[in-house]
């Protein structure tokens, strides 16, 4: 298949793996082994597992699966808020499919649907807006979540809803930002990450400039990376090249999609509709300053939090759950106390087990043999 097979060529892969192995002896021995490279984005985690990339690389390199799966980092309290909204008789609650399984403290959206709540899967916020137009007697709430990747589409839906005067459409906003979260991880004392594979689709929107502090202040290399397996190997090689040269910079492996200044129109739509929250709660990582956005006052009529007085409950993660340590690379998924026993993809306890992009779920489906 054109434009796909070129990025999965086994001969190129072998050449890159050799080039990576050849770099290892040049990296100062003062760095602890295995070297830890965090792929920030859940899409990269999926690629790494689906193509068996971790096994192709020398043992001296280890991927740490970062916080970039928005479904995974959704805290239990927010899921409870979703369920409470969905259970209101006037509400049609619309959501992306993979959020349906995330466990709340009482139930997931899937269970709420089985219990009679009107929960519907949509593929885009515009589908939800369409539903609102077709059901003027109901309140259609769209569950917006994701990083800067999905923010522009949600923003556009709100701009359109206001323009067209669709009064029965609103957004339950759970959008989060990646920059504050990377910073929180770097500030955490139990991490020892050597470099980053930067998110591809987030960067398509925000560009590469916002990462500057990672190289300048925290002295870590970051390479923005595409989602094909050769992209991941290539970007890994670029990170190691920086380590070998003892420099750190923000580089862009995914230049065929990501521009240095991002997408100005998408950024304008985000700025029009959203503003930073003072803090936002993350599953596994706790509260992080300025890591989420909310709907601006100008769009208050379309903000489900204001419209329905969402209680905003905060619920602590289950105590046995070690999602936070996995997210920071302090432990591997299978080293968690409940991995594969109390916590499985069928009965996820921690959110990393929920989505196929979650590190634990990917480990469970694709990677068990690694530690068998």
């Amino acid at each position: 298949m054109k434009y796909v097979d070129e990025f999965r060529d086994p001969a190129q892969a072998r050449a890159l793996v050799q080039a990576i192995a050849a770099l290892l002896p040049r990296i100062p021995a003062s760095r602890r082994r295995p070297l830890q490279i965090m792929e920030v984005c859940g899409g990269h985690t999926h690629t790494i597992f689906r193509y068996g990339i971790a096994d192709m690389l020398p043992d001296a390199i280890e991927f740490v699966h970062g916080p970039g799966c928005p479904v995974c980092v959704l805290p239990m309290g927010r899921v409870d808020d979703c369920v409470a909204l969905a259970e209101r008789p006037e509400v049609i609650f619309t959501t992306f499919g993979d959020a349906m399984h995330v466990p709340g403290s009482r139930k997931s959206l899937l269970q709420a649907k089985a219990d009679g709540a009107d929960v519907r899967m949509v593929y885009s916020p515009l589908d939800a807006m369409d539903l609102a137009r077709r059901h003027p007697d109901r309140e259609v709430v769209f569950f917006g979540l994701g990083f800067e990747t999905t923010m522009p589409a949600t923003a556009m839906a709100l701009i359109e809803a206001r323009r067209q005067g669709i009064g029965n459409f609103s957004l339950f906003c759970n959008h989060i930002t990646i920059i504050a979260t990377i910073k929180a991880i770097l500030d955490s004392p139990d991490q020892r990450i050597d470099g980053f594979l930067g998110p591809g689709h987030v960067s398509m929107v925000i560009g590469t400039r916002p990462y500057g502090f990672i190289a300048d202040r925290y002295r870590r290399p970051l390479v923005v990376c595409g989602f094909e397996p050769l992209d991941v190997l290539h970007a890994t090689w670029m990170v190691l090249q920086q380590l070998a040269d003892e420099r750190c910079a923000i580089e862009n492996q995914y230049a065929r999609v990501v521009a240095r200044d991002g997408n100005q129109r998408a950024l304008a739509a985000i700025a029009e509709v959203f503003e930073l929250r003072e803090f936002f709660e993350w599953r596994g990582l706790g509260s992080i300053d300025q890591s989420g956005v909310r709907v601006r006052a100008g769009y208050a009529a379309f903000d489900a939090e204001r419209k329905f007085g969402v209680p905003n409950v905060s619920i602590a993660d289950p105590r046995s759950c070690q999602c936070g340590e996995v997210l920071k690379g302090a432990i591997k998924p299978h080293e968690c106390k409940v991995f594969g026993t109390a916590c499985t993809p069928e009965t996820p306890l921690g959110a990393l087990m929920v989505s196929s992009e979650g590190a634990c779920a990917a480990y469970h489906s694709y990677g068990r043999r690694v530690h068998a």
Partner: protein, 341 residues
Amino acid sequence: MRDRTITLAHGAGGRAMRALIEELLLPAFGNTRADALEDQARMPIAELARAGDRLAFTTDSYVVDPLFFPGGDIGALAAAGTVNDLAVGGARPLFLSCGLVIEEGLPIATLQDVAASMRRMADRAGVRLVTGDTKVVERGAADRLFINTSGIGVIPAGIDLSASNAYPGDAVIVSGALGNHGVAILIARNQLALEADVASDCQPLDGLVSALLAACPTVHALRDATRGGVATVLNEFARASNVAIRIGESAVPVCEPVRGACEILGLDPLYLANEGVLVAVVPAADAARALDAMRAHPAGADAAIIGEVLRDPPGLVTMATHFGGERIVDVLTGEQLPRIC
């Protein structure tokens, strides 16, 4: 029939129901009025005994949405699906039942089309639709039409196919390209604004199984790869036989439009439903002969050897990726797609 839509009267046991059965269903299924006089179909044991030494009996319900899709419809699925469940046990399928649960308001013409397509599929497989039942429920109590079919077949003496019969060294063969049914249904639902020229592979597999067993009586295990796809069947084999199975991604047949749809939607063809593809486990020495026999049959033209059975680690299915890595092919969690069949 004069009526244009199904009403509750068609399930009430009175005149309307008799008209539905006598004027629509009996002719469609090729039965006479005399065939329907009793509450049960009757079949001579002697005829069955001549065909083999064990009965095979199976049942399946069909709730696919939409009712009609490229390459088939709920009727074709209901006939072929149950025929296939018999065939992969090595049985010669002989008789089917047909239970209909109809939501009031279904156009009679729709029912006519579905019944005709059941008949066509049954004829292809050489089975007879011999007994049935019709229920009509209020609007909203079911979605248009659900069908249950049960099937009876006879297993010839000497044939012993079982999921627990896979041995280290055996070859793993699939009979055709994967995922066509799943993708055809997805596209037919029209929610994705996605277009691709993909038709369901819905077809009876009894002829293919006969051809395979005739050429290669040593086949160890057969199963049709419906919901959960080939990945699920391989895991069932690995667990039941306590062996490992290793497949090669490059060897797995997937047609280009299905691959494209999987790329866009993030689906894995190994987990997509098929309605006319089986997985066979055969001794390595007979693999070439089995493959030739399958390819010579129209239902197996794209058959391919995709992997082998190993001793260790027991119960695990792995795949050498085309890219050069290796990964686990686990069982599916949750539903990939509701109401696929």
